[in-house]
Subunit: 274 residues, 4 copies
């Protein structure tokens, strides 16, 4: 929160309300914005349902404009209040904030009966407003650490899956062929992904004995393979939980950290710990 | 069990039979009620099967009334025997107990040939009788502790899933559109949930190459994401198991920790533990 | 292997060959029987495929009789060689051994053109021969211990699943009704199981918005719930692995077991360990 | 890398570039080959899509030959540069390298309008080029160790699954029979695998109450069974993670063990570690 520097008076006060959630007012502001986001997403959803749109079309447009104006004001306030404007505008949430209000204005400036359908779909991009919700979550740190520290294992795992899926899809294309729906290798790879992840739509299914045998092998492989990422994440989680057994104590002699709770002497410099 | 206070004589005796399961009679009462619940649920199920209902309709109605009277007597006995009646009636199981007998009486007082079908469905609410079974389970504590202590991690996880599903559903609605069955955003979100949880009915399935590519990404994401809750719960379970084995007791002689709950002497200096 | 007592001479020798796998001859016997079981299962499978049966019907019948005679001889030898015959015949594998040869003889004694189909299906019971394979597995002990020690947790889990599935199925029957395929409560419960286990055939799928909303909730619940048994088993497995850190050493003073590898003194009687 | 011995001068230099990835040039060579593999796999995929092939058929054939020549040169260079040629040619990747270039030449030498279709499918074997990618992965070691050390547990698990699937498939064949699509035991076993792995295509689904009951049991079993491999791998992963952190080093002063790999002094007695 370096953008807080250089602020003073009412701009600092508003900065704390809009960008932070440590004060009662700041928390209230965040909750109001969160509720507005959820309601506006609901409006976009309802608009896409034919039967609902026909009945309350006018109300949906009004709600649409109401939320767009609210979010526009919020966007302007955020730009006005922050000290490093450029940084905010180009940040992830700065771009999301802009994208979530733009489509409604675009639909206003580019009218025309034919393009209505296209405009409506542009409007749907406002669904990205929901991504703003992530801002209100500070608890996701631990999950991120667990996932990041098993980054390489996950990459190896993903490459194994990718190779398996490509080889399996190609073999299936050779075995079943276009006459049973496996019209091309990409389609067959799509089938292999649907099968290996145990989703199994059934829009494509092997019909020859050879194809069914191969499919069975892919399924059992996919069923077993799910154990690997689970094992990786479990081990990380437990490691995180376990490492909380390490004290935050700093050695008074060499200032190093990471001592076990049962350590009496610093393991780096042999100095006595408190 | 504060409602046990102020009871004496036969009311105390019956209280122990009906509400507790520590005495042989109390246990017998509980088992009889449990069997009655299971049988009455079976009757409701059979009643919904057309071929069965036509054959033994009369018997099902008789069984229906038999169990309703049994449960009514049980409900009256529970109210009569408990000291804080208001508290019981408004408790979770008090309400469930009432709801499980009410529909049969309602069907009796509101007759009429047209409303028969509706009444029959109200009757089905008695299926909630099975929820009473939970009362007989005392082992669920540990599972609850494990789930509760990872509450925040699970909330973050659920929000990530929700956001992913809404964004994925909306993108799919834009890509595939109503002509391939994705008639509205809520429907597309339903599809995204079906896909991400690896259920995969196949009533809706992407048909364009772009849609199949996006679907593949969602599937792999959903397949990998299942590792996260599993990892969380595994870590909690292991923590519970581990921490229940070691006391926080310190040896009074060498002041070392980490003694097993069944240890009588310090394993480091042979000093007697408390 | 108490049935080994009271044996002598060639019966003891044959007992070791047939019932044990510690000698080279015993191991060879086991492997031959295992191969025969697998081949006879293959014959039963091939017999059920119409196109294969038409071509090599005679050979299949011959193979059928060949394996039946082999297994009959094996069964007689087992009975002859064991000392406590009654115990073997009534044991799990004694019954399986008998069931795996009986159908072929039954088909011989109960002929008739009309009953042929039924007899063929009785024959299929010989598939239980494959269960004999379990006998050759001694490694399954650890898995069993892990599953047994989390018995109560698994029962609680199963009851939660059962209640959820019954409540969900009944609600779905009320919401969707017979006109969308949910013809009875048992059928709806079947659908709920298919959905909650993330199998998702798609032969039954909700079509109303309310039904799809409920289905979504069931799916997410089922998806999250899979974490619970996985967590339980993971914790047990890890515990097993961890408890191998406990020595098999017995305290020379009080004769108690269960000492940690780093313990110097008995934690029960403070006697010095070796 | 024993094949590096006996090399000198430019052959040693090229050996390091082609077979190793420790030098900048060696890394560049590997990345170029990797990109070529990915592009050539993409070409094979595009060739199988009818609409794409019709438009850019000539370009695909040219790309096809371009990559075949590139890989041929690479194969020749590998053979030329290595000291133990026989060993490389017969190694796993030696065979894969050959198989990935052969089909294009075969299609050239065996022309004919009728066999065109077959040749095209032989060409697809070049997809195995992607297996070469595995060579570039050195991180898969840990995963392999975890899987290998739980080898026996996995075999027991696989045998349990196999037996369950065969018994379940046969019972289903008896219950549902050919009139509901379960035309033979192998088909029914295929259904049992599809169900137990929670894939659930829905091309085959039980229709009788008895069949649906059995299917429900198989599903719940399959859903619970997934916990077993996950538990096994989780336990292994955690063991690996834990054991890599602690040295087997003993403190030369107090002879205690359990020191972290980064410890310089004993944490119990402050003595210096080696």
């Amino acid at each position: 929160m370096k953008s807080k520097q250089n602020l003073s008076g009412w701009r600092l006060k508003w900065y704390e309300i809009i960008f932070e959630a440590d004060t009662p007012k700041g928390r209230l502001f965040d909750i109001i914005v969160l509720v507005c986001i959820l309601l506006s997403v609901l409006v976009v959803m309802l608009e896409s349902v034919d039967s609902v749109r026909e009945q309350i079309h006018v109300w949906l447009i009004r709600a649409e404009w109401f939320f767009t104006i609210i979010f526009s004001l919020e966007y302007i306030a955020r730009i006005y209040v922050v000290s490093e404007r450029r940084k905010y505008v180009l940040s992830f949430f700065g771009i999301i904030d802009l994208l979530s209000i733009l489509p409604t204005y675009l639909a206003f400036f580019i009218p025309g009966s034919q393009s209505l359908l296209v405009i409506r779909s542009i409007r749907l991009l406002r669904i990205f407003r929901i991504l703003k919700m992530v801002r209100f979550v500070g608890e996701s740190q631990n999950l991120m650490i667990a996932l990041r520290s098993s980054k390489y294992k996950i990459i190896v795992f993903m490459m194994t899956i990718s190779t398996s899926v490509i080889v399996a899809g190609t073999l299936m294309y050779l075995i079943e062929g276009p006459e049973h729906g496996f019209t091309s290798i990409p389609t067959s790879i799509y089938w292999a992904i649907v099968t290996m992840t145990t989703v199994g739509y059934g829009d494509l299914a092997p019909q020859t004995p050879a194809g069914q045998t191969l499919a069975s092998m892919i399924m059992i492989m996919g069923y077993g393979i799910i154990a690997v990422p689970t094992g990786i994440v479990s081990a990380e989680m437990m490691h995180l939980k376990h490492s909380s057994k390490i004290t935050t104590q700093v050695c008074p002699h060499c200032l190093k950290e990471g001592h076990d709770v049962d350590a009496k002497f610093c393991k780096y410099c042999s100095g006595k710990l408190n």
